[in-house]
Symmetry: C2
Subunit: 447 residues, 2 copies
């Protein structure tokens, strides 16, 4: 048995596909995007290949550009609950917003998912970057980035203590004495902060994992600091090894400053692979998808990333770099820098840029034969850029199958990825400790 450090692999399921035009491709399953059995089958494939987790993005608003692309989705916590019933081991990570959900409600939903799945729940913590969401929740405007993160930090404090509010051994269940629970082990949290006032305790028992795994994906300064403090797994987008290495080193360094062990934070960049037996065929495959891109749609996607509408511009003209205010990015903070890096490095036309981004909304797109994909994964993994990857197939279901059947066996042969699960919970798969209740620590410290 090798004690070698192991890759973590998530399957990021995007309804329906990561490549923005894949729903138009003959291989697409776009007609099944609201069919729960489709997602149950995808998760079963991930489990058959021993992936750590399946992951779903989310946002509480309908995107504006629904004419040109599939933007409807099932709510991810319910969807993952349905997947929990159809799988036994694979982790289940749902995105939910600290800006637009009450902490008491969210604590209950994730605690239920963790109970129902016997300890496989993960929460991808987002502050929501879609400004349209504010209008669905009665806010005059979408709160600015810094304020959203301030609220998120307080939110984490509240929800963590809610999950800890009933100690693991609070249940007595003694029919003779008539005592059902030891109320000394059930704690009000009495939170009184700037954004929240929450008394608690939660009305559900402590969950198999203690708390769901905390996942995060921010890449701004606020996002990195937040991740270093709270996150146990980080999904991140990088186009180059150097960019990923810088991020990796920065997060692990910041984590140490919070007295956290760096090995308790798994950094998982996205990878969207076009795989074929030769490089030429892989490139051709990628082209098949890129010709289906609709510029009207791509430009709305780009506008969300950089805060600038290029609809009037010549697609084959140069990207108008001078119009971008580098300081005051009004787009998605985690993507703005990434796009500008591509622009500055490659000097693309607008069409080239949107094609570059169409693959996976700014994530690393790579085309080639299986060995090349495996080599790149190994290089990032062994050179301080990644603890694993968030696999984002350009199309589904076939794009996942090719990766799982052709790349995963190579990684396994090299001793980099598990042959079977060694634990039952998502914390087990990631190698994360189960946290003790903060309240039981408190009691111990006082005693």
């Amino acid at each position: 048995m090798s004690a070698r450090r192991q890759l973590s692999l998530n399957f990021f399921i995007y309804p329906d596909d990561h490549h923005e035009a894949a729903w138009r491709h003959r291989s697409s399953a776009a007609n099944r995007i609201l069919d729960v059995t489709y997602y149950q089958e995808l998760a079963q494939r991930a489990e058959a290949h021993k992936f750590d987790a399946v992951f779903f993005a989310d946002g509480p608003a309908l995107a504006d550009n629904v004419r040109y692309a599939q933007r409807f989705r099932l709510e991810p916590i319910t969807l993952l609950t349905a997947i929990a019933s159809a799988t036994q081991r694979v982790g289940l990570i749902a995105t939910a917003s600290t800006t637009y959900t009450e902490p008491y409600n969210l604590a209950r939903l994730f605690a239920s998912l963790d109970h129902i799945s016997s300890g496989r729940a993960g929460w991808n913590i987002v502050t929501t970057s879609t400004p349209q969401a504010a209008q669905n929740f009665g806010l005059p405007e979408h709160p600015p980035h810094h304020e959203r993160y301030e609220r998120a930090r307080e939110y984490l404090d509240v929800i963590t203590r809610l999950w800890d509010s009933r100690e693991d051994d609070a249940l007595v269940n003694d029919p003779i004495s008539g005592v059902f629970a030891d109320t000394g082990k059930i704690h009000a949290i009495n939170h009184l902060g700037k954004h929240f006032r929450v008394r608690g305790p939660l009305n559900i028992s402590r969950t198999p994992q203690g708390r769901p795994v905390y996942v995060q994906a921010g890449s701004s300064d606020d996002g990195r600091a937040f991740a270093a403090r709270f996150a146990e797994a980080i999904f991140t987008a990088h186009q180059t090894l150097a960019s990923a290495q810088e991020f990796y080193a920065d997060i692990k360094r910041q984590a140490r400053a919070f007295d956290r062990s760096p090995d308790q934070i798994k950094i998982l960049p996205g990878i969207s692979p076009f795989i074929a037996s030769t490089q030429i065929e892989a490139d051709r495959l990628q082209d098949e998808f890129n010709v289906l891109i609709q510029p009207e749609y791509s430009l709305t996607q780009l506008r969300q990333m950089i805060g600038l509408d290029l609809s009037g511009f010549d697609l084959d003209g140069p990207f108008p770099r001078h119009l971008i205010d580098t300081e005051g990015a009004s787009g998605v903070a985690s993507r703005f820098k990434l796009v500008m890096d591509i622009v500055d490095r490659e000097k693309p036309t607008i069409r080239q840029l949107v094609q570059r981004l169409a693959g996976a909304r700014g994530h690393w797109v790579i085309a080639g034969p299986p060995e090349k994909i495996a080599d790149n994964i190994q290089t990032w993994f062994e050179n301080g850029a990644a603890d694993g990857f968030n696999v984002m197939p350009p199309w589904l279901p076939g794009g996942f199958d090719i990766f799982a059947e052709q790349v995963v066996p190579i990684l396994r042969k090299r001793g980099l990825f598990r042959h079977d699960y060694t634990g039952t919970t998502l914390r087990d798969h990631y190698g994360l400790r189960r946290p003790a209740s903060l309240f039981s620590n408190l009691v111990r410290a006082i005693a």
Copy 2:
């Protein structure tokens, strides 16, 4: 085939049992209250016996009296999603609060449940009567009854239009033209009211049932008016045939005033039966549970219903009727009148009163052989008191099995209950129409 009017039967699953002391009884499954397979099995039994639906209560707070009774629970929407995966036909009704949940979030959760279950979702609309909830959601105090209902009415307007915001045929999914959706059939709702500002549209497609079934349980004047306007199924508590008849007639009359067809509102009183082969054995069975009652707990339950703490009083003394202010009930409105009716009719001691209420929190408790239970059900059903029943077994799982195996066959033999399902959705089971989208009506009306 008989075209006779048919009973609706729901199985109200209360974790763990409806009799407040049943968790202390040897037949109880109190050790499985957080085990999802327990609920999946119970729902499978309901389905095997062709029940219309399973139903779960809910509240976003932990009750104060957890020392003496099981008050922890899984969140019901996730729980029913897990049950959806383990069943094919039975309806799935979850309680959720209009006071403590954002309409956009709740619309998504129930729409997902309706998709995942292929059209079996029902929403039990509550305004939440537990004052502790306010403290979990940052409110200075629990909003008063009338204000909660005002908010609930606006909430229904918002959530109905969210569920209708994407017309049934909005999906185009045409890879050749590149048109995914017909944006002319996807509508912002632009709601601007006193309590909510919600733009929409919802980011999920219209559900199999159009909307989940609207269920309601209020019995106050506000509650009745709300139910008559919005509810498609009503759960209600009555101790006597006369009380149930008055309620039934009042609701159907009020519904006509809203231009609604009375047969589109199913009125389902609760019934909690102790069943044995003779009356003496059934009474003895009920006594077995009543001796397990803990007065400390019962008095907190009573306090919640009538707003008065009787802890200092002699349990075997008379109920202090003179201390009750009939006008200003601060307890649960739907229970206050019911308790006072018992007090005025039966002049019980405090102990007799709490035993009377221990069976099912004020619902109709009846003990006797199967024929007697069936006779009573038939009498209520055929004399303008009920369209069916919400079956609340005193203990689980055995209390349900006895009803299903001994009473249901009698009802079936009398032609009062289905031998098999004739449809697939909860609307089918209840005989409710699938509503058209309000927006498609609007378009038609204008055209």
